[in-house]
Amino acid sequence: MSTTKRILPKGIAEADFDAALNQFRETIGSESVLTESEQLAPYTKIMMAGDASDYIPSAALLPNDAEQVQELVRICNEYKVPIWTISTGKNLGYGSAAPGETGQVILDLHRMNRILSVDPEVCTALIEPGVTYQQLYDYIQEKGYKLWLDPPAPSAIAGPVGNTLDRGVGYTPYGEHFMFQCGMEVVLANGEMIRTGMGGIENSSSWQVFKWGYGPYIDGLFTQSNYGVVTKMGLWLMPEPPAYRPFLIQYQDPEDIAEIVDVLRPLRISQIIPNAVVIVHTLWDAGTHVVRKHYYDGKESIPREAIERIKQDEGIGEWNVYAALYGTPEQIEVNWNIVEQAFGASGKAKIMYGDEAEQRGGGFEYRSALMKGDMNLQEFGLYNWRGGGGSMWFAPVSQAKGSETKDQTELAQKILGKYGFDYVAEYIVGWRDMHHVIDLLYNREDPEETQRAHDCFAELIDEFAKRGYGLYRTNTEFMEQVAGTFGEPLRNVHTALKNALDPNGILSPGKSGIRQ
């Protein structure tokens, strides 16, 4: 099969696109305008259950600074060329580095990777979109600052700006990333640049410490949206605590999930346990380092008998709680007693830390690293679980109540089972909310299985929405459907904002279901 036909942005004549490309080259240099198939191929690698031919860019632009972004946006407006913005391009399982639809031009900001400031006194940073967690981590280490980051799981290669703008989460007490963002620089669709919060005040020293500025607070408009291109972002960094104790609690019964969440909630709200706690199911805990076919090679969902063998062989619980305590050694001892009493009351939990936890199976080592902001790529191992390169994150949000878990878990397992997929899942308990994160792993090389995965994901969205559970984030294939579950009045407001801020609709059309 050959695909030699040139890809053009939707509705753009070839001559106009060529003229736009020439202006792009004059602005950022020919070497920063990619048009060849083999150069664009890395941007076409998707993991979601969509048709690969729907996600092919016509070109990629790699600017070096915000001024170049301004000029590129002006050219796009002149020729009505749609651009799809990525920062480091590591939104794996949510669309990766691919455009929202075929023909869009990728605006790849990974070369804009300056760390503009890190203030060890007020614990803030100001960075560009191409800065990776690893890069910022290494800078902090080199300077000897006692500051921690909050990376997501596949962390080293991703960046704080992109993850925060997609409202990602991490595992330290600063795990809700957008909550710890402070100040943005944004290039609007007309090429103008604004700074949010206190950034509009010339010589202000408070841009990275006071979020609200004056008048309407608008930073949220530039998250999960297509209203501007964020070219700088401030974030708060966690001061390194004097002591840190990661711990593991294992439960063996599938129904224990309700008790875990109910015990956990008051500890989270009162900040006895201050970090984003993860309650990991057996298959996720095993899947980071075990291959499915060692236990079961059937096409249908992995059976209970195989799950029990994995638990036995790997030393993994049905539910594996990873959390940590932070503070002085004295504070940790006090809080540890509270944790032990709370989880020990029913007699079902096995509570561990230190050597005992490390000797159990599962992910204690890498999760301990994540909960103190250290980098690793261990969760890439999940892609080996089933094989075939297919992965989609399904992540509905609910209250952190045990009563919310039973129905959700059963519903997810029922729908996944209907389509022959495994329940590879975890709950992440925030301050009051809970993300139920499921990795729908499938073989993208098998068209029939890919179609099944697509149908399964669509059904998960609809059935969870019927029960009041909406997604906090999704991949580009399903953005329209998920936007629909939040209701037309909200979509109308999103559209009105789009029309006002981007009248030619050139910025990431379709992002979060938002178009003109």
């Binding site: 099969m1 083999e38 890395p42 580095a97 800078y139 690793n376 080996n384």
Partner: protein, 178 residues
């Protein structure tokens, strides 16, 4: 995958707040055009890799064995470097993701028990299992060597039955240029 400090140093992720890092432009001055000299880095740690290297050599390339693929290390290599080999699912995800804006995917292969799926961005694929002598991996090596030197720039995909592999393990191959 754990990241050692050595790995990070090698892959340029330890540069901290130095001047804007552009892997592509950073090495622009070092365009040794390795491919013209016939050198190619070869990754993997099993028999398939050895056979792939044999095939590459048969068409005049000079493979240099680098062991198991660490995709993060590739970005520290000079621009123009050719690389080929075998890896697992997570390695392919990481490799292709890291090449965005930094390199070229010339070809990718998925090799099951008795079938092969090849994707080329260097023009048509000649069936690599039409083998008179040797293994399918060596044949794949010859095909990858031909594609590495090809001037075509269009995309072709081909799915075909081939010589059965000795195991039922899925193998993933790649041919990229930094």
């Amino acid at each position: 995958m754990k990241l050692t400090r050595r790995a990070l140093l090698k892959n340029s992720l330890l540069l901290g707040a130095t001047a804007p890092l552009s892997i592509g432009s950073a090495f622009a001055a070092n365009q040794a055009n390795v491919s013209q000299q016939g050198q190619i880095n070869l990754y993997g740690s099993n028999k398939s890799t050895t056979e792939l290297g044999l095939g590459l050599r048969q068409l005049g390339l000079k493979p240099r064995y680098e062991g198991r693929l660490n995709p993060l290390a590739l970005s520290a290599l000079p621009s123009g470097t050719l690389a080929a080999g075998f890896t697992d699912e997570s390695g392919i995800v990481l490799l292709t993701s890291l090449l965005a804006g930094r390199g070229r995917i010339l070809a990718l292969g998925r090799h099951e028990s008795n079938q092969h799926h090849l994707l080329s961005h260097r023009g048509p694929i000649v069936e690599p299992t039409t083998i008179e002598t040797g293994s399918w991996q060596a044949s794949l090596g010859r095909e990858y060597a031909r594609l590495a030197l090809a001037s075509a720039r269009d995309r072709h995909a081909r799915h075909f039955l081939g010589t059965p592999t000795t195991t039922n393990v899925s193998e993933l191959s790649f041919l990229v240029q930094l």
